[in-house]
Symmetry: C2
Subunit: 119 residues, 2 copies
């Protein structure tokens, strides 16, 4: 599943927003999500699986509980794709600062590329 498909679901985006504030147990996430979206525990668990299978979260066991946290990898992937377009709205200073901070990777002002081998 592509990173953008992962973020295509509002429940998963919301879970990430919760995790942005810090680690939470699956149950803690479940309480909020089930309340806000009116879906079942398995549904939440399935979303957590998608997030973890695609590098958007990490999990750490704590007894019977699972502590979820944001894993930057997935989000960074999305951010990097976006980088190729940022010049369309961000002032030059922003782009420059971003480039600098990133250690001068990807110097070109070209559109990003992506694997098109599938489909």
């Amino acid at each position: 599943m592509h990173a953008f498909d992962v973020l295509g679901d509002p429940v998963r985006r919301r879970i990430l927003e919760l995790l942005a504030r810090g680690e939470r147990t699956a149950g803690g996430i479940g309480e909020v999500i089930q309340e806000e979206f009116g879906i079942s525990q398995p549904a939440v668990s399935q979303h957590l699986r998608v997030l973890r299978d695609n590098g958007f979260t990490t999990v750490r066991p704590d007894g019977a509980r699972r502590l979820y946290a944001v894993d930057p990898r997935g989000l960074r992937e999305v951010d990097e794709w976006l980088a190729g377009f940022r010049r369309f709205w961000a002032p030059k200073l922003d782009a420059l600062a971003t480039e600098l901070a990133r250690g001068r990777r990807a110097r070109r002002a070209q559109p990003p590329t992506e694997d098109r081998s599938t489909r």
Copy 2:
């Protein structure tokens, strides 16, 4: 359709990559996409519609042709959601520069919020 759903499709992402290099006619886009993905002209046209209906492209008529170009609005929306997470991987300098360049909007270091009224 949510911005992330729009970018969830590989064809649409590819179209945006093409447009990142500059304006193109629907037909010009079609040639590339039909070749790369093996889909029909109407399929491409339908993707273009999604992109334009959701603020990812602009269109300008030129006789019988339609010239498509990147519209920053959709992409910026995605970028702003991501901003709330950038601190998880970007060095502080980067975040600071971004904030500055953006004119100090959204000063807090909080996760982004999104409309949850639907669903």
